[in-house]
Each structure stands twice: as C-alpha cells, then as structure tokens.
Symmetry: C2
Subunit: 368 residues, 2 copies
C-alpha cells in the first residue's frame, strides 16, 4: 500500500496511482484528524471522494502517530489525550472515537486503536501496554458490531472498477483489523495474537515493528505473532520495509504492507533497483544516458535519463522527485506482483533467494 498520509500519496496524483495499478492505499487517521479535520472530509463526501480515489483505502487508527508525533500524551484506560504536532490543540481519542472517525472517513479497512510500545521496552511496561491494546481492540470490535451497517465512502464509487475483483467490490461494510503488539516478548505476542483471534477480526496486523529495532528483532516479532493468526485471513506487517525485508516477511506468511520508503527516499533523490538503491545526487550520474533501471517500463524510465533526473534533483525541481517517486512505487508494486505470481507458480523461494542475494541494502536507506 502506497502511503497517503495527508490525503495524498506524496507527489503523486490519483490518476498516476491508477496507472501504477496500485490496488489499495493507506491513509493516516491522525494526520487527517489534525488537518483538515474530520468534519471537513465528511462535508466533502468522505475520504474517497475528498481525494478522488475510487479504490480501497486502509486507514490506521492514529495510535502510532499519537505516540511518535503528538506532544504531552496522557494514556488512560479510556483513551489517549494529546496535543497535536501542528497547532498544539488538545484532543482525546478513545477506541470508540477512533472507530467513529474511520467510519466517517469511510475507509474500506479500519484499524483498531492500539498502544505501540517503544523500542527498547521493559517487560512490565510491555505487558501492561499489551493488556491495554487487547482491551481497546475489544472495544473497537464492539463498536464495529454495533455500527455494522455503516458503509464505506467507497460504496459510491463514481465508476465500476473492473480491475478490482468481484469479491472485493461486493464488500460494502468497513472491514476491521486487529493489531498484534507485545514488543519483543514472544509470550506477549502470542497472548495478544490469541486474544485478537478470539475477537474474530477481518484481518490481523503485526504492529510495534519498524520502531527503531534491529532487523532480527523485527523478524522475531513477526515470527512470534504469525503462527497464532488464521491462515485464511490477511496478515499485515505495519510500516515495513526494504525490498528484501518484504520478501522475507512474505516468506514468513505476511500478505500486506505499507511503507513510506519508496516515496520518502524518492524525495531525497534515492531510487530503487533490483541491486539496491541509487543516490541520484551523486556526480557519477551527471552524464548518464541510461534510465534509472534498464528495461523498466515505468513512466520515468520510459522517458528520462539518470542525467536529467540528477539535474532536476540538484536543481530542486519538483519533477525530479515526482519521477523518482513514480519509479519507486512501480518498483515496490511490481515486486509484490512478482511475489504473488511466483507463489502461484510455486517458485517463490527461488525468487526470494535470488532477489535477496542480488540486493545490497545501504545503511543510508534505513536511516532517512
């Protein structure tokens, strides 16, 4: 899922996202709640109509951003009080309010409110936090059941989307996903996963990853959550990752991802290729006539040279980051498409091994 934090996948238009065959995007409830505010989006017809996107949208609950961006947080059993990072206004979000907001946004998939513990984190804090996450998930589920008739704003799609399967377009109610927390503690991950499965969500996310932990801790967190999640429902690893990480996580049973890397790194002049990233600011690309990636059929590689794109980035021209963003999203979406095809053909492991061994992850890509 390309990330459309503030009602826009950064630098990209909905038309370009459709041309990229992006099947679904993510919207950030916290950011939209802070600005322009839910009342504005509701007035303008819900998130789909607001941003003119007629395919599915998953909204997060805002929990992660409250813990990473907002100030003066006060967490109680009831919810979270915080000052937002834009104008400092105080607000309270509870599990019920977060569900109400997402229903008003009209996303196709809503996420429960969770507490995302920091890394590193003591066991006692993580255990207490886990109890809160489970209690909040239960309240979110209860809210969703009591409000099961609320349609997504996508129900009023302007045009039928033949690319979307009949099964998907037939779903009119908003789906709700639980979020497995538990920090780095296997028994807490298991406990949380089992409690969520008992609540019977439409899908399950693994949260509390991509919070600064080493890669092996991230894999451990996923590995200690995944076995307790039902195979027939989607599993979603939140906020990850590099291209090899995605393939490793697919190998560990994960189905869905959201990640800002393709769009964020593009704005810094960094492009993804099958062998690793290119920093197009580097002088070596000044006279390079090749596209970012040979044989890539994206809108950037079909038309523009590395030399031109380097010039645009150095000259701080918006077109430069637009073009790299298109390429990077094409690369990520294409990687996921390839993974699905290889799984269908029973050739995923070979594909993953080859890709991971050809790909060099540079430190700079992880510290942006």
């Amino acid at each position: 899922m390309p990330v459309g934090t503030q009602g826009s996948v950064k630098a990209v238009s909905p038309r370009e996202l459709r041309e990229l065959n992006a099947p679904i995007i993510l919207g950030n409830t916290y950011h939209l709640f802070v600005r322009p505010g839910i009342e504005v989006i509701n007035h303008l017809g819900g998130l789909h109509k607001f941003m003119n996107w007629d395919r599915p949208i998953l909204t997060d609950s805002g929990g992660y951003q409250i813990f990473s961006l907002a100030k003066l947080r006060k967490i109680t059993e009831d919810g979270v009080q915080f000052q937002n990072h834009v104008d400092g206004t105080t607000a309270v979000l509870s599990p019920e309010i977060v569900m109400e907001i997402q229903a008003t946004l009209g996303s196709d998939i809503a996420m429960v409110l969770d507490e995302c513990p920091p890394w590193p984190c003591e066991y006692d804090y993580a255990a207490k936090s886990n109890d809160l996450t489970i209690a909040w998930a239960k309240r979110c589920k209860e809210w969703a059941e009591a409000n099961a008739q609320r349609p997504t704003s996508n129900v009023q799609r302007p045009t039928p989307e033949s690319e979307i399967s009949n099964q998907q377009s037939a779903i009119e109610r908003q789906l709700v996903f639980g979020i497995v927390q538990g920090a780095t503690f296997e028994e807490l991950r298991q406990q949380c996963a089992q409690a969520l499965v008992d609540l019977d969500f439409d899908g399950y996310a693994i949260g509390g990853v991509s919070v600064g932990e080493p890669e092996e801790e991230m894999f451990r967190a996923v590995e200690s959550s995944e076995p307790f999640l039902p195979k027939e429902k989607p599993r979603y690893a939140m906020g990850l990752g590099t291209p090899p990480q995605l393939l490793e996580l697919i190998a560990r049973g994960v189905d869905m991802f959201d990640c800002v890397l393709p769009t964020r790194l593009a704005r810094n002049g960094t492009a993804f290729t099958p062998t690793g990233t290119l920093n197009l600011k580097n002088a070596e690309f000044a006279k390079d006539k090749r596209p970012i990636e040979d044989d890539c059929d994206c809108a950037c590689c079909r038309e523009f040279s590395r030399g031109y794109i380097r010039h645009l980035i150095k000259a701080e021209e918006i077109l430069g980051l637009r073009l790299i963003t298109l390429h990077n999203l094409h690369f990520y979406l294409g990687l996921m498409r390839q993974a699905r095809e290889k799984i269908d053909k029973g050739a995923f492991d070979q594909f993953r091994n080859e890709f991971v061994s050809n790909y060099e992850t540079r430190d700079a890509d992880l510290t942006e």
Copy 2:
C-alpha cells in the same frame, strides 16, 4: 510560453504539457549554463532530448538573468563577466558565446544577448546601453549567418507531431529574434527597433519590461517599439504578464509571451479565474465543493474540489501546487487560444473589453 527555467516547467511533466496543448515552452540559457552546464546537456543530446520535449523551445540569451541574478557583473563592449548565483563561479558571456550556447542547446528560437537596463534609468545610461544592445544584436546576427547550417536539436524529434503545423515542423534551422531595449525613452525604443529591423531578424522581442516599472510605463515601452516592427514577423513581449495585460498587449500588436505567473503563483496557492485570482489558502475555501473554476475542463477542475486543494496547500503537499499549476497553465493557454479565435472572427476587441472589465487584478498577484 510556459517557462521551463531549469529544463522543467516547474512541477509539470512534458506529458502534462502536451496534454495542455502547450505549443512551445521557454528555457533559460543562464540557468542551464550554470546548472547542469552546457556540456552535460550536449552530451545528453540537446535540450529537447534532455528534457524529453519534442515541440519548439525558445531560449533566452541569459542577459536578463545576468543582470537580475548574477553577482559582480562587469560589462564591457565585448561581453559580460559575472559570478553565477549558485556556486559563485566566474564566467564571461559574449554575444557569440551566447549564440554558440543556444545552438548547442538546440532551441528552435534563440534570443540575442542584450543589456536590460533597470527601472528607473537615466537617459544617458539608457542611450549608452542601447548602443551596446544594438552592437551585440549585430554580432549575434553575424554569428547566426556564419553558422546557419546548425540544426535545432528538435530536428531529431522522436515522433512526428501532427498537431504542429507543417510550416513549423519544416523549419530546421534555429530562428533568431532581436530584442528592442531603450528603457522608457521613446526615441531610444524607436532607434533600437529600427536598427534591429535593418538587421532582419526572424522575430522581434520587446525587452526591458517587467522590471518593476508601473503598468503604464510598460504599455508605453511596447507602444513606442511596436510601430517600427514588421507586421509579418512575430513580436514577443518578454516576461509578461497578468491575463488582462496579455489581452491589452495583443491589442497593441504583440504575438508571443512568456510568463512565470501561472506557475509561480500556483506554488503559493493562487489560482487564476476569469474574474481574478483565488488564494486557495483562505479559510473560506475549506469546505468548498466547487472546482477552482466552474465549467473548466482542466485535469484539476475535472477531478478536485477547492476544499481538497486548499487542504493540500495548507498541508504542503506537492499535489496541491501541481494541480493549481495545471489549472493556471490551462487558463493562460486557453486565454491565448480564445484570443486567436476571436481575432480570426473579428471579435477580439469585444472579447478583450469584456474580459478586462470582468477581471479584478489583486495587488498580491503582482508582488509575488
């Protein structure tokens, strides 16, 4: 002509420019000379191929930017020595060097090197400057005649452009336009215009306008130049202007314009409409479901509300300025198209009068 200062019309892709039916764009020789440098563009196949634009390009001579942007200028009869505004490197540009550079860029229309006097300007300075501008124009013309066989880089257009008339696409040599200077002095304007016409350029620009002078001085400068320019050749008023100004200048015999207002104001959230500009940052637009302009068929107005665009601008999302830029270019190009149609039908004066009386120019639009 949309302005593509650094090899890109800001925030817009070549594909979008084609969809806007932009028939020609402007490139700034000074900026391209400073960054990425002429050698790089030459290596990458000339300006058309560099930026993947297969329609005509007019390049300015760099004179105006040397006088407005560069530091430590030293003007001699031979040329101008200056330090560029990016890295302070010293360079010398002469009439011959400027022509050589534009031939290497491969633009379809090259401009002569001129000195653009400031406003206000004493008569003595303006007269001396005018002599220099005329002497430099002569040297540019001589260079062009000695190098008449150099094709534009556009000769190798990747695809035939059926939209461009046969007459235009048949021109393979680079055209050269003279530039009338003379500050606010009618006799200097006349003297310069007549000297340039004696040199027989392919077209004639009126320069030394849009340098901070009051609107009436600008009109006077055009009015005192235009009568001496041949009717059968294009006249080009440089760096102008607001929508009513363009219509007033067309009424005074001007055929061509370049202007940064549609792209520059867009980046500040300002959109053009037939009644004046809208500042989309204003709170009044927060819940406005209407497009920027009713019945506008641009890519922005067909799909997005003022409320959404306001949100994008307030949240500093790139898509916001992209959408307003598309609308503003569509507005300017559409205004020129309408003017041509009205001239063909003999209805231009009525059109101009109605447009100008309906349009309110806001001070903020002129001081950006």
